[in-house]
């Protein structure tokens, strides 16, 4: 689809929402909107796309209460603004949107969170991504280092970049809008997504990308949408296996889950963001005992998060149940850099080769 076609469709769908409200009010109906319930319990596995999506539970927001009426009013203002932006071919960040609402009186956002949630609602209703509304995410993009050549269409023209040869030690930074990205060539066997910068640099220093034909992707914590889309595309269009290497704690498992299955917040666009084939490397709870890693005691929050994961459909496999129960028994967690306690080379010379060949990746 061309950019113009995409813009026209986005505008049409946004205005469609307003049109429905118009008709409701004309018929004496208090305007309302229906949305899928955005909770863990309404996540369902979609066999076709192999990702987790929202199920059939819906909730209705009707302007019959003050809170919901204000919500609809804000949504109306946002639709109006986005329509204008599309007409003028401008773009903006969510934060800017938040400040623009300053002039909207009752429809002014009280906090950034609110405008973010509202944009997610619009994504769900229109079945389009915020980028289609010309909204720029502000999240930090991650970095890529490895045998990959790509082409990025920027406002300043088309750039061709090789992610080992044309970049500095910090690698290639993933732009916000990966729709403008095209992978032209590669010499890789798999992609390894890494949670922390320290480990990313360790793999680079130790030449892991060269030795094993790996594309290193630094996730920078909970990965941004753009990072997740790049991973999915590396997997899908280049056919490369994707593995995820994180710390060994419940929050890191959620990082893996958001790469592999999509997150609850963005279940409406899981098909674009999730990489169902992504595999978890570690740190596994069993690694903590197997390698006697330096570990911290689980906090109350950690334990609660692990218990929540036991009821999370995305972790409903035997592998995860065993690992999580093991961790709840041990009451310990470790970071990925904890492998340093066994020497700086241990992770690239011992742990990863063993683990990846077990997993059948190398």
């Amino acid at each position: 689809m061309s950019r113009e076609e995409m813009d026209a469709r986005a505008k049409e769908r946004l205005v469609g929402i307003a049109r429905e409200w118009y008709e409701q009010m004309r018929d004496g109906v208090v305007p309302y909107i229906r949305l899928p319930t955005r909770t863990k319990r309404n996540l369902e596995y979609d066999d076709d796309s192999e990702v987790w999506k929202y199920g059939d539970r819906e909730s209705t927001r009707s302007a019959a209460t003050e809170k919901s009426a204000i919500h609809l009013l804000k949504m109306a203002y946002v639709i109006g603004f986005l329509k204008q932006q599309l007409v003028e071919n401008r773009s903006s960040t969510l934060r800017e949107l938040y400040y623009i609402s300053e002039g909207w009186k009752k429809a002014k956002f009280a906090a950034q969170d609110e405008s973010n949630l509202l944009i997610e609602d619009l994504e769900i209703i229109t079945e389009m991504q915020r980028e289609a509304f010309h909204l720029r995410p502000e999240e930090d993009g991650a970095s890529i280092f490895g045998p990959l050549r790509l082409r990025e269409t920027t406002r300043r023209g088309v750039k061709e970049i090789h992610c080992q040869e044309d970049v500095g030690e910090a690698g290639y930074p993933i732009p916000n809008n990966v729709d403008n990205l095209e992978f032209t060539d590669h010499d890789a066997k798999f992609v390894i997504a890494i949670e922390t910068g320290g480990m990313y640099a360790r793999l680079m220093e130790n030449g892991f990308d060269q030795d094993y034909g790996a594309i290193l992707v630094h996730l920078k914590g909970q990965p941004a949408r753009s990072t997740r889309r790049v991973l999915r595309r590396l997997n899908e269009s280049l056919g490369l296996p994707v593995v995820v290497f994180t710390d060994g704690d419940p929050w890191s498992y959620r990082i893996y889950a958001s790469v592999a299955y999509g997150s609850i917040k963005s279940a409406h666009i899981s098909e674009l963001l999730a990489t169902p084939q992504a595999q978890f490397v570690g740190v596994q709870p069993s690694d903590i005992s197997d390698y006697n890693l330096p570990a911290d005691r689980l906090t109350e929050q950690d334990i609660n998060a692990l218990k929540a994961e036991l009821t999370d459909p995305r972790f409903a496999t035997e592998y995860w149940r065993n690992q999580i129960r093991l961790q709840l028994d041990m009451r310990l967690k470790s970071e990925q850099q904890a492998f340093a306690s066994r020497g700086l080379d241990f992770v690239t010379k011992e742990y990863l080769p063993t683990r990846l060949s077990e997993m059948g990746v190398i």
Partner: protein
Amino acid sequence: MVIAEDLAREQRSISVAEFFEKNKHLLGFDSPTRGIITTVKEAVDNALDACEEAEVLPDIFVGVKRVEDEVYRITVEDNGPGIVPENVPPVFGKLLYGSRFHQIRQSRGQQGIGISAAVLYAQLTTGTPARITSRTGAKTPAHRFEVMIRTETNEPEVISHEKIEWDRTHGTRIEIQFRSTLAAKKRLLDYLRLTAIVNPHARITADIDGEITVFERASDEVPPCPKPVLPHPHGIEFGALKRLAAASRGTVEEFLVGSFSRVGKKTAEEMISLAGLKPSRKANKLDSNELKRLLEAMQAVRVPAPPAQQCLSPIGEDLICRGLEKEIHLDFIKARTRPSAVYGGHSFIVEAAIGYGGRIPPEGNARILRFANRVPLLYQQGACAITDCVSQVNWKNYGLAQQGLPMGPVLIMVHVASTNVPFTSESKDAIASIPEIEREIVLVLQELGRELKRYLSRREKKKLQDDRARAVCSIIPEIAAKVSEIVELPPVDTTPIEGKIMRKVVAKKRTVDGKVSIEVNNYTGKEVEIVIYSLSRDTAEDAVPRPDFVDSIDGEYNKVWRCALGAGEAWRVLYTGTGEGTFDLRGVDDGMKVVVDLDV
């Protein structure tokens, strides 16, 4: 031996007056400031008791006047039955002399200590006698006494006695002089106000050093005077039983029936047989062992509760509310009188009230008003079972903040009426913690808590609804405006929606393709009887339903439909026409309806 004899020489009897002179604080005379309040309280208690016994509407005067530097004259005068001259000296000049000690019934004073203690402390601080004026009826003269107490013997000493002229036909007046201050003036007025609240039939006039305050009656009915009752068999102890039996002349059966309340012939027989005695035995011939068996039998046999109706005089829910409302401005007030109950053979009734809002300060702890036998308790709030019970109740359940005591604009009033109120000390400041009484207090407070909660949540709900409806009606038009702008269509009318949300009756008229439709929706919660008027050139001959009445005026037809619409129901009429003209709905308050003519 020498020592014991030395010691023996020191031994002697102590008069009760000496005892209480030394232990002032036990009777509430621990400070000069407090002395004034205690004196007024004792005198007013006696005045109210006397009026109640005489079935007179009390009219009481309280005066406090400075006579010299730190000396105040306290005067309390009533319109009661008066005191016969022979009794004036012992009533005022002897501790432990009175009429109510041996009676089992609710009364304010009981021990015969209070007023004579005031006389005792007055003479201790100023050396002056008490002056009492009393008259028992129009046909007798008034007598004036000056009385002191001989501390060593606890006997009255009459300093002077004369017959005088007095404008009152009956009543008593006492004047005593005290070394004191007026620091507790506010507290004294508080005491009188509280007294007025629980004695709504009394008028009290106060003259505090020239400043007059009148607490008017809220009721003109004299409450019934409680009648003495016999002791209840479950409340008797061995020593008392032994004494009563020794004084009896009849058989055991006669003794039981005649000396105890709620014991009839049948009950007495049951007790006697359970005790293994012959009914014909003389009660005064029973030995200790037999009496013990009898006591056990008396406890074992079921006996109805004592006759509380007769010996107690609760204020009643209505008069409590009236008394409180008269003195304190409140948004909400509810009172409860519990059924009578028993502890250790003594009848008691707990009454309570809860007030909210009005002029009660919205911050801080709840105001707690404690009363016992219609007397306010002013001191030692912390040591009182009432306070303790107020803290025990979980007020958070009833919508109040709580830190020990409940907090906020709340007033809690508790009145314990009993034939024997268990005070923690003779100064009668606080009620002792007796499980049976505490249970009743907690129960009544919980009942009232539920009432309060109902009130608060009704209030909260109403407020929320109003807020919400108002907000919605100001937001929806804005949504409509923005949405209309986005879809680039004329502004959409939102009045019907507003009606719906405001829970009103909404009438809409709309004409499409030569057909006029009028639709009425009753969004209120109640059935409404409505009349729809449509004045236009349309004849509406094909209207379904047909108009109840059509009036033709200058070529226009006024079509009238009547209908009863249940809550949530809709009514609709359809007829051929152009839709011009006027249209209205009647039968509902303007505030409750929205009429929208979409053809205009």
